[in-house]
């Protein structure tokens, strides 16, 4: 059991809830969603509660993450994109905190569930679609017709653009999900090697050093991936929002 690299993604019920025949139980996944939100919101709330003119360490971190996302959004989607700042900031903080919490041993990684990342990706694409049609009406469809294309090629290009647009929620969600999943499995497998080799006597303990080094290195890499995937998620969100704000601006 302890060596099963898949077990860490197993969902277990904590409070069974069932509404209309559908299982809405409060599970360990839900618990860690709550923990993610509590950690991220608690940190941001209490670190900025002093409203210091000269920020302390915690307030600096909160301000840095704010300015990091604000700069990213302004660069990616222009100053009009700033109305989506709360959304992008929430997504980034949620994904980052969930990824980092997942790095704790025995903790559940919320973002290693495809349904969660897919729901977040759908939220982004849904926002793009709703805002795009609300703001530009049918002109939003210009998104699929890049300017300066010879007439003959238009059907082909439009088809490619439509497919690439439709694949966005899939690529956005699978990228985050697969990174977290694969990283955690690899980490678990190598850590498992250390344990199973360690039980094989003196030679095994000597041999366990290599996977141990690997596990330590992978842990560092996973922290990088945890941050990087939150960053990538936020950057792509900014890019997609830019399409909603400036559909002709390919």
């Amino acid at each position: 059991m302890a060596n099963d690299p898949i077990h860490q993604f197993q969902i277990s019920k904590i409070v069974p809830i069932e509404i209309g025949g559908i299982d809405f139980s409060f599970t360990n996944a839900s618990l860690f969603m709550v923990a993610t939100v509590a950690c991220a919101a608690g940190f941001l709330y209490f670190s900025t509660s002093q409203r210091g003119l000269i920020p302390g360490r915690a307030q600096s971190v909160a301000e840095m993450s704010y300015e990091f996302i604000a700069g990213m959004l302004r660069e990616g989607a222009g100053s009009h994109g700033m109305k989506f700042f709360p959304l992008v900031f929430s997504l980034f903080m949620f994904v980052l905190t969930a990824n980092l919490l997942g790095m704790f041993p025995y903790f559940f990684t919320v973002t290693s569930q495809i349904i969660v990342t897919f729901a977040l990706a759908l939220l982004v694409i849904g926002t793009v679609l709703v805002y795009g049609f609300y703001k530009h009406g049918l002109h939003f469809l210009q998104l699929f017709v890049p300017s300066g294309i010879p007439g003959l090629l238009i059907p082909l290009v439009v088809a490619i653009e439509v497919i690439s647009f439709l694949s966005r929620p899939i690529s956005l969600s699978v990228r985050l999900f697969a990174n977290m999943l694969a990283g955690h499995i690899t980490l678990k497998v190598f850590a498992g090697f250390v344990a199973s080799l360690g039980t094989m006597g003196a030679l095994g303990i000597g041999g366990a050093v290599l996977p141990l080094i690997m596990t330590v290195a992978l842990t560092g890499l996973e922290f990088l991936v945890a941050f990087l995937q939150a960053y990538v998620f936020a950057v792509l969100t900014c890019m997609y929002l830019n399409d909603a704000i400036h559909p002709g601006g390919h």
Binding site: I6, K13, G21, D23
Partner: protein, 215 residues
């Protein structure tokens, strides 16, 4: 080899998972909702019991995950939108304003200081030129006074000199006048001693006068 042995452990472990809440009977709650949910979920769930379904693809908990994600992320978004973003934005803006204000204040103070330095230098220059003027005036006055004094003294000296010269002239004239008389008396005395005769006064006078003109 290692992974396979790990998989082998999945089966005995499965009942342990739902046992965690304690209240729910092991294994059964998994199956019960799955039976009531529509077939798709049921099928996926059936697979899980076989030990084959990969947990992230197990649709049993999709509704639950979505619901709780919507609740938690929704609350998080609202908190960000209503509290955190305005607050941090306010902090940053306040700091930005404060820095701009301080810079303005600093530049204002600098220009004030510059003005003060300029005033000081102007006054210094004025004072310096005034001092120069005063010194010049004093020097001129002193020079004038010295010249006047010298002129007065020179005049006085010249006056005294001319008085003295006059006096000397007078004495000289007087002396010259007496010289003739003395010479006459001396000459008559000499003649008297030499020849014992009395020379007439007029002859002697003429002789003295002649000698005097010769001299």
């Amino acid at each position: 080899m290692f992974v396979t042995s790990a998989y082998a452990q999945t089966a005995p472990a499965a009942p342990e998972t739902p046992a965690a809440p304690g209240a729910a009977p092991a294994g059964d709650p998994h199956a019960a909702p799955a039976g009531e949910v529509h077939t798709e979920t049921g099928v996926a769930h059936g697979g899980e019991h076989g030990g084959g379904t990969f947990p992230p693809f197990d649709a049993t908990y999709f509704p639950s995950q979505i619901l709780w994600l919507v609740i938690t992320f929704g609350l998080f978004y609202l908190l960000m939108k209503k509290v955190i973003v305005p607050r941090v934005g306010g902090i940053l803006e306040h700091r930005h304003d404060r820095i701009a204000q301080d810079l303005d204040e600093a530049s204002r103070l600098k220009s004030e200081a510059d003005a003060a330095v300029e005033t000081y230098e102007r006054e210094l220059a004025a004072a310096r030129s005034k001092a120069h003027t005063i010194a010049e005036t004093a020097r001129e006055a002193a020079k004038g006074k010295a010249a006047a004094d010298r002129a007065a003294i020179e005049t006085e000296l010249a006056q005294k000199l001319s008085v003295a010269e006059t006096r000397i002239g007078e004495i000289k004239t007087q002396a010259f006048a007496q010289v003739g008389q003395i010479a006459e008396e001396t000459a008559s005395a000499i003649i008297d001693q030499l020849i014992g005769a009395k020379a007439s006064g007029d002859d002697i006078k003429a002789a003295v006068a002649a000698a005097k003109t010769e001299a």
